[in-house]
Symmetry: C2
Subunit: 729 residues, 2 copies
């Protein structure tokens, strides 16, 4: 076959595919998906729900560096269909068993381009059929687009198989479209290469303006992208009441994805976090993108119940998971944020780690992580059934740790002179409490990786088996970003290495999660959003904040939000302070249920809990791992009510929260085992409670209930209710 | 005191110093040094030798990023003088005891500038005495210039003390001048951020053209700087016979320095290797530059005998150095370079380390690092008193290790299926031979640091206590260079971590050394120049190469040059090959003496040594650590003759080498202990030997000698002679 004939055949083949698209329907038939190639060979997909469009024709493609783009000129050379329906049990989670049911379409696309000696597309498309082909060579490349359609949404990714013309390649950016069909109400935070710690804005797509400064109040370090850039998970609601959530699953060896919003057309195009050398990703075949996820329903509760993102992650490779323990912790932590004590031992600044003799430093007298104080926390934990005690500020370096793009900030193994590692090990073991390690990196990931083995060995030698890590600051390697490929690999490396040491992790200020806790179940939680701490020293989190987080940040995985603040107003610590938590006390309790995490902090000070030990009883009781979860009602920005059954126990917990508006909610207890009798203890806002005016007024009532009962809960403005339901004895 | 008065006083003070300079004379009076401030407050120094200028007035200064420069406007606020004369014993070295004798001048300079809100110098110098000072603030910064004048040269550095207006700062570049006074003959290689593996060019300063391509033949990866950029150590000879060597000592937490040559004025200005974010160095006070060194003599032999660079390095902090052992090694190495076997086990390419099942790979049948072959080397080492056996290609990843800016290239702990770690450990221990580890990083330093603890623990568990590391390729973190601050810190980190594990190191392709083996005596040697291996597969190293290296690369420390090639012509392995070593066999022997290293490889194959076991006897005998060294005669580019006394033994070794010209050299043996009788065994070129035409013709003669004898050695073109002198029994 002559070359010209071959090209002709390919074109005919391409054309035939351009007009005959592929369709997929979800198992329940509600979602319909179409794939086709445009007239110019651009891979294009569409999604509709119950007959109405969710995504109009949207293209998938990639810009490469030093190679022609993988955007168009494709022909389909293979198509495979599959269906899977299986169930799996997570190591921990919101439910005991997760169903993974999807229909799959995998389309192999091929593109042949002529390139000149510099790798650019040759200007003469007919180069191989003409004589003018001296400097040109043919590049034939294949990609596989894999689509999985579930009842609750779509997941798709691009795979780059091993092939002669695509071995190593550099992505300049990904240009995958999510073309929405209307000016939806959107719950968004600004796209940023380094932070997710923003207040959410609710606006129409057309009104997105990511330059808004207020939403970024008190964020330590951030790198805005553009006025039309937003983070995922991105939550939207259409005018006719459909809910759409866009995110990604299984972010591995690839940069995080942002949405660049066309505020006129409502189209969105992916953008990837860049690296230090002006590209986005270094890849080697076989390679694949993370799954791009579009979760859709006409019920907001379905969005929260979706397990699509977990289903698209790889099962864990950890064989023995017996050491992974969902748990509650308290910690030398909130006292640092309310300025009762300090992370730093001394008040000098300008420390050089290797040259400092800590025993000769003058203590400032305010150091929180001292042996006596930590013992106080251990005592409280032991007395109240709290599993762990986190201690921040135990290790040297806090005098000079932030803001100078410094590399050797901490060594993770040297305690301050007043923190007796061995004595605290002995004491914690004697009280059957686990100390929880803290590794702040200050963003210096190279320093952390360099010292990681030593740090983990130190942990194991001193009976620590969980670590909260931190990434506050500009990243080292310098030029990289929190959300770039290098750091993605870093977070995953730390998770894998921790697993090898049987260590559980809880990263703060990392990239937002994408369901990787399925693959790394030792990755209990992450921060990666605006946590409760912002209420201590910034304009804080508005009352609606916790009603949005489950629809956005938490779609990717558990958050260490650090609920449980009982002393709501910071004026308690300093009359001059105007900061406060923007909830009632009862709502703080409800968060233990509405904000799923297998690692929950009881964030307030022991003395504050001791003053209200009746309310603290809920935190003592509430589970952190669940057999079942019912999303009772939910509306992003307004309210969330969830009921969960404790793992392995016939015991339920209900959390209900509202935004700045008071609300009455009813919870039918039909999930209770028929024929059994229970006692429900209701922790709720007092009648005159109000997040701002009277936040700490709560009441506790007990009543006998069974499966026929309906709870009626009255929530104050910015309030909530928490209910424990235990078998009657 | 009012502000305006203060400024006036400072100006007067400055002026008084600008006219009254400071002078230092070397202890022997030959060197004279002057420091002064120019009329505009620029720190300026001059150096002369025996009354003739070496360096004309040369400025010292720094460009900063985000802050005004530290170039001029200085006043001297303090001056201190000191003298030191001490002796110290290196852990290993060319001599048993080193004298450290210098006179020191330390000048504290202060600069006050007005800066605007952006940190730029305020345009109105009188801002503080006028009303227009609203946006300006005063910045007062001090630096200390420390000069040490030895009999053999000058060392100086800049220190940045802790101070309010200089805590963290970013260097854009260093602008320190070395203004030579004539168009000297110069032995140079191109300035390059990533390589030192060049052939030396000898030219006048005015003729330097670093774009010369031939000198770079077969260098795997390099990043040229500019046509007028050259590497240090830079060796020069003046028209009237003085020798000048410029380099640096104690390169710690700072980028490597290059010389930018003004080919018209013969002035040279420093330039620093940049980092990934467009600056040169991130520093925090107290900080200091490495020492800038200028070694001067009218005898070339004094240059080689100088210990100035070692004297300017910090003493070691390693308390127990008993585990540090100078040694000889052979290795599965040259057979790889001559293509008798391969590093890689399989011939596939495109490997992803984590996803590859090596047991299922198809072996190529040529893998050098297989158990049986390594045992063959162990046997040879045991039989011939060689301490160690290096094995390259033992670990998985070599199928796909170079050229793709890949990060996860090697894991440093997984052997190929045919390399039995435990059996080889057992076998080597039984033969009292040490296996030497090999860690090629492919330039991916992050990957190496991440795995370093595990790699070192693997070594110790398998009885390895020395490692040859390698840095072939583009650096990861991407955007960094081999010679940049980040990599400098990496090399030093590896040295320190290795010391903690009692591991000796031998980095290949690192920055060129600066005497840090004093501080890290486990850092036995480095490559960092064009080694013998280039003779196997490139145009090679011209016959003069080894007469230049001691004056250039070796000024900073020992080189693992891998001498001892007996099969000179590569046609031995493949009749088609034209490559060859550009020396005679006898010269290969002489290199063990002329090219000091406490780690010396006998680089050729065991079978090649067995064929000429009489010549190999010299390699068996020669020491690698010395009580005394006499530089008998030397001329860069022409010849070097050195005699050394073995550590702790009354045994001397002489090496004499020449360039492409034949040469007769006489060596008076007056260094021998008076009254004692010795046997000298002379390994020298046969009468008709010639590096190209007849390189392997050698002869061995023994004669009785004593301290009154004079050896006469005839060296062929490209030839050499090696002599062992042992006590007569």
């Amino acid at each position: 076959m002559k070359l010209a004939h071959f090209i002709l055949l390919v074109l005919i083949f391409a054309f035939s595919h351009a007009i005959s698209g592929q369709n997929l329907r979800s198992p329940d038939g509600n979602l319909s998906f179409d794939f086709s190639l445009s007239g110019t060979g651009e891979p294009t997909y569409k999604l509709s729900y119950k007959g109405k469009p969710v995504l109009a024709a949207s293209r998938i493609g990639f810009e490469l560096k030093g190679q022609p783009a993988l955007l168009g000129g494709f022909t389909a050379v293979d198509t495979k269909r599959a269906e899977k329906d299986e169930a799996w049990n997570p190591v921990w989670g919101e439910v005991k068993t997760i169903r993974n049911h999807y229909r799959e379409l995998a389309v192999t696309l091929q593109q042949t381009v002529a390139v000149d000696e510099k790798g650019n597309v040759h200007p003469n498309a007919d180069v191989f059929s003409s004589a003018a082909n001296s400097n040109a060579k043919r590049l034939t490349r294949q990609i596989v687009l894999r689509f999985r359609l579930f009842d609750d949404g779509l997941g798709f990714r691009c795979e780059f198989p091993v092939q002669n013309d695509l071995k190593y390649f550099t992505l300049a950016d990904e240009k995958t479209e999510f073309n929405l069909t209307g000016d939806h109400k959107t719950f968004w935070i600004p796209g940023d290469y380094d932070s997710n710690e923003f207040v959410y804005t609710t606006s129409k797509l057309s009104e997105i303006d990511a330059t808004i400064g207020k939403a970024a109040d008190e964020i330590a370090f951030r790198t805005p992208i553009a006025a039309n850039a937003v983070q995922t998970p991105l939550m939207m609601k259409t005018a006719d009441g459909r809910y759409i959530n866009i995110h990604e699953a299984a972010l591995v060896n690839y940069p995080a994805m942002y949405m660049m919003v066309d505020r006129k057309t409502f189209g969105m195009t992916s953008h990837l976090a860049p690296n230090a050398v002006g590209s986005a990703a270094f890849l080697q075949t076989p390679a694949r993108t993370p799954w791009r996820t579009v979760i859709v329903s006409d019920k907001a509760t379905d969005i929260l119940a979706s397990k699509l993102i977990l289903n698209l992650n790889e099962p864990t490779k950890i064989e023995d998971t017996s050491w992974i323990k969902p748990q509650k912790m308290i910690g030398v932590w909130w006292e640092l944020h309310v300025n009762r004590s300090s992370w730093n031992y001394s008040d000098v600044n300008n420390i050089i780690l290797a040259d400092t003799d800590w025993s000769k430093m003058k203590p400032n007298g305010r150091h929180g992580a001292n042996t006596a104080n930590v013992k106080r926390y251990i005592d409280f934990a032991a007395k109240n059934g709290i599993d762990g005690v986190l201690v921040e500020g135990w290790n040297v370096g806090w005098e000079d740790w932030f803001g100078n793009w410094k590399e050797d900030v901490f060594d993770f193994v040297t305690p301050y002179p007043d923190f007796d590692v061995k004595e605290l090990q002995r004491y914690a073991v004697s009280k059957e409490v686990k100390l929880i390690m803290h590794h702040e990196t200050s963003g210096s990931a190279t320093n952390y990786e360099r010292r990681l083995d030593e740090a983990f060995r130190f942990m194991k030698a001193n009976s620590y088996d969980a670590v909260k890590t931190g990434y506050v600051g500009k990243i080292v390697p310098r030029g990289e970003f929190h959300d770039g490929q290098w750091m993605i690999n870093h977070y995953n490396h730390v998770a894998a290495k921790a697993a090898a040491y049987k260590i559980m992790i809880d990263p703060h200020e990392p990239v937002r999660p994408t369901g990787l806790s399925r693959t790394f179940p030792n990755w209990l939680a992450s921060e990666a959003a605006r946590g409760n701490e912002f209420n201590a020293w910034s304009s804080g989190n508005p009352p609606e904040h916790e009603t949005i987080l489950p629809f956005t940040r938490l779609m990717g995985g558990p958050m260490d939000y650090t609920p449980g603040i009982f002393e709501i107003k910071m004026s308690h610590y300093d009359p001059k302070k105007k900061e406060q938590v923007h909830t009632t006390l009862a709502k703080q309790l409800a968060l233990y249920v509405t904000m799923f995490s297998p690692l929950q902090m009881a964030a307030d000070l022991p003395e504050n809990y001791e003053k209200r030990i009746d309310a603290f009883q809920f935190i003592r009781d509430v589970a952190v791992d669940w057999d079942d979860t019912r999303i009772v009602e939910a509306e992003p920005g307004d309210f969330v009510t969830i009921a969960r059954k404790a793992k392995g126990r016939d015991e339920w917990y209900v959390g209900a929260i509202t935004d700045e508006n008071a609300r009455t909610t009813t919870v039918p207890l039909d999930f209770l085992t028929p024929g059994r009798e229970y006692v429900a203890t209701v922790y709720t806002d007092a009648a005159d409670a109000h997040w701002e005016k009277n936040p700490m007024a709560y009441k506790i009532m007990s009543q006998n209930v069974n499966g026929r009962a309906v709870l009626k809960l009255s929530l104050a403005p910015g309030g909530g209710a928490a209910v424990s339901i235990k078998l009657r004895r």
